[in-house]
Subunit: 460 residues, 2 copies
């Protein structure tokens, strides 16, 4: 419950029309893509950086919790007010593309800009913003930066952090800071932008982001390879990546996922295959594309690929991508509740990872369809259970815990792109030592000594 | 002066043969590339991470200052014991390439490995480590990471931070931590590796670095363009970079620099030219090279290029690069003391930057030859004075201060690749607000509450 006095003072900052604590708003801002729900005490819509500075200064002085929020499309509860407090909703007013600087190939945006809107705006000018999380049609750049979002194109083009040149942000005490410049290089001072990326809204509220853009490649081509076993496909993945050719994307679907898409959409997919790989290459010249495709075809076939299909045009390309695009929704045929994680390992241990996930699946008697961004070692692992069955849910969570342990043992990470938030906080001790978690806590304290900003996330 | 008791205890950790406090060692470890000198109280050569942990724990408990040092080739005094203490010299034992992992395209190295040794080792396996600071033949990877070194190839391939995947380090209290993984993506926990990069040895001692490698491009070609004015050349730089073609390098020399090289080496350089640009492109196919060269030639000529020369082979390429490679040593004809800085601006304001540097040069009556990495907006600005003349030195420093102010006014940074260290510490207030410097101090304190690690650097 928020005190009347605070309501009055916060309304004085942002105006009546930008502060709500009615039931409808509390419900609307209580959830994210985890489907867990925590109602905030209020929702506030700052109009600009100055509002945010005043709000944070006020809340810091009065011990009021603030939870920054973009589109609420996160998979780990990063934007959920798990400890109550006020949701600081950035999607309403702080959603402008401030500049697309063609000369320096840079975009300056507010945090509430939708990823896809930015992509479209820069592509209209012949430029390219590569990070493309699956949530691109609704997730915000602020959220992407806060979670360091990845996407399909990460194998070649990297992830959000590779494009952030500068950040403006408000510290919990209300101080406004700028970190980084509109320059490729900047080594003056500590890399504050670097630590704000992936900090899940726990250190500062990001108010402006300067992003590197690149020239849009003129051509693109898609291919699909069918493999007898998932191990063979995983061998083909890392051997392709080590061949010198870097595909834009190198995505995989395992047998369970292929079957699920086929059952739902009847597209004539190879349901007996152990796995399929779908890959895109790009470049400016036809010769670059055919060179890359030739290498990929050779490496795929050397690793047991029984069928290799190249798309001749955009329509065929969309067709090859269909299975991957519809994987996530299709696998729900295996259970009403999907416990999905985005573990990531060094690419060379992908075959072993998938083998061991299969063992876990058998041990617990649960189906674990897998698909994802194998080009960068990132596997979306989905433990499917009946969500209404407490016993099954418990088994599912045990299976996931075991998969996390396997991932860490193989030199991998709990999260390739979704973050820790609430969902993975219980597993932080698997991935980090006490000394490392102490360091995280010291950094949190350096930014936010009163712990008002998104408390309780990341096991801090 | 270091107490006998501490000498005894530190020798017990590393062995007699790895601890020195004789005059010869004090002198040998008193300088870096700034030519300033500060003698340490002792020099210690840790054999491994465990030694470093024990040393730091002991020094932290006893308030003894530690200054980590690689090759001592830094340009800003980052490795100088400006406040006394013990130099922790990492080049002697901690200098091994631990692993070159072909499957994952990753190298794992100790901090004392020389940049060029790593480049050679990975190129022998068909892989490529792009960061190539001018000091590559003697600077260490640990130093490169600590200063976030750039180099010639940054225009296309980025800088050191773009290749650091994981770091092991020892905190001032002796805790050993690991940050990052051998995975392209890792968003679990705060980005500790990100903040250690460019932290100039003030937060932790780096003991192991995992670096991303890429496939070595099969072909490369060099070209040179001659321009009537430096402004025209700068226009050509940013318009080339915005054309969709990304050269590996795009280096420039101004008229003063061209004349200096010509005077020293008589190579028949165009001494009347306002500036020359030297550029490299690379790729796997001949078509990629000719496509890029055609675009560059067109953009250069549209911007006043009077002569465009493409190298037909390695020998001609080395010839075109000769002037750039010898720029730094040649400009000493203008004065015995070179006050050199590595300011960086957004590329589109390069023409204005150079115009304004010329004004400063005239105002103070000093020669300011400029050259450098214009492809990423990084200009090596050299105020040349008579080093034995106090009055001239003072004028030189005033000129540099004015150039820093211009750089910051144009949205640039004090340092593109050399760091802040001691040399630029007095100018931190130009580039950062009090709030930002307070945040740096809070971060320093979170890592190093007793301020034992490389104190006095970066104006903290």
């Amino acid at each position: 419950m928020i005190k009347q006095e605070h309501i009055k003072n916060l309304k004085a900052i942002v105006g009546e029309e930008n502060f709500y604590h009615d039931k409808a708003h509390m419900i609307a801002y209580s959830y994210d893509a985890t489907r867990e729900r925590y109602e905030p005490d209020a929702v506030i819509f700052p109009r600009n950086e100055e509002d945010i500075s005043k709000i944070l200064r006020y809340c810091n002085e009065n011990g009021i919790v603030i939870v920054p929020r973009g589109a609420g499309s996160g998979f780990t509860g990063g934007a959920l007010p798990a400890n109550g407090g006020i949701v600081l909703a950035l999607e309403k007013h702080m959603n402008k593309i401030l500049e697309i600087d063609m000369d320096n190939m840079v975009a300056v945006v507010q945090p509430g800009v939708i990823n896809m809107e930015l992509q479209k705006a820069v592509e209209a000018k012949g430029l390219f913003y590569p990070p493309d999380p699956a949530s691109q049609e609704y997730s915000t750049i602020g959220g992407n930066v806060s979670e360091n979002a990845g996407g399909m194109r990460a194998a070649k083009y990297g992830i959000t952090k590779d494009y952030v040149m500068a950040i403006r942000a408000v510290l919990p005490n209300g101080d406004i800071i700028r970190a980084g410049k509109k320059t490729i290089k900047d080594v003056a001072g500590y890399n504050i932008a670097g630590i704000l990326i992936a900090s899940e809204g726990t250190l500062a509220v990001i108010t402006e982001i300067t992003l590197k853009l690149i020239a849009k490649p003129k051509r693109k081509q898609t291919a699909m390879g069918v493999f007898p076993t998932v191990e063979k496909a995983m061998e083909a993945v890392y051997k392709t990546m080590a061949s010198g050719v870097t595909p834009v994307a190198m995505e995989f679907l395992d047998n369970l996922t292929i079957r699920a898409v086929e059952e739902k959409f009847k597209k004539g997919l190879p349901v007996e295959a152990g796995a399929i790989l779908i890959t895109d290459v790009d470049g400016n010249l036809p010769e670059e594309l055919s060179y890359q495709m030739d290498v990929i075809e050779r490496v795929f076939k050397e690793n047991g690929c029984t069928q290799f299909k190249k798309a001749a045009n955009d329509e065929e390309s969309a067709d090859l991508w269909f299975a991957r695009r519809n994987a996530s929704q299709s696998i729900t045929i295996y259970g009403s509740k999907k416990i999905n994680e985005d573990i990531t390992v060094p690419r060379s241990v992908l075959p072993e990872l998938l083998r061991r996930i299969d063992e876990v699946s058998k041990k617990y008697g649960v189906k674990v369809p897998c698909f994802g961004h194998t080009g960068d070692g990132n596997v979306h692992t989905n433990v499917m259970v009946d969500g209404s069955d407490e016993k099954q849910l418990e088994i599912g969570h045990k299976a996931i815990e075991e998969i996390f342990q396997i991932t860490v043992d193989l030199g991998g990470t709990l999260s390739g792109e979704h973050g820790i938030g609430l969902s993975k906080a219980p597993f932080m001790h698997m991935a980090f030592t006490e000394e490392e978690i102490n360091l995280f806590r010291a950094i949190k304290k350096a930014f936010d000594p009163n712990n008002i900003l998104n408390p309780g996330k990341m096991a801090l």
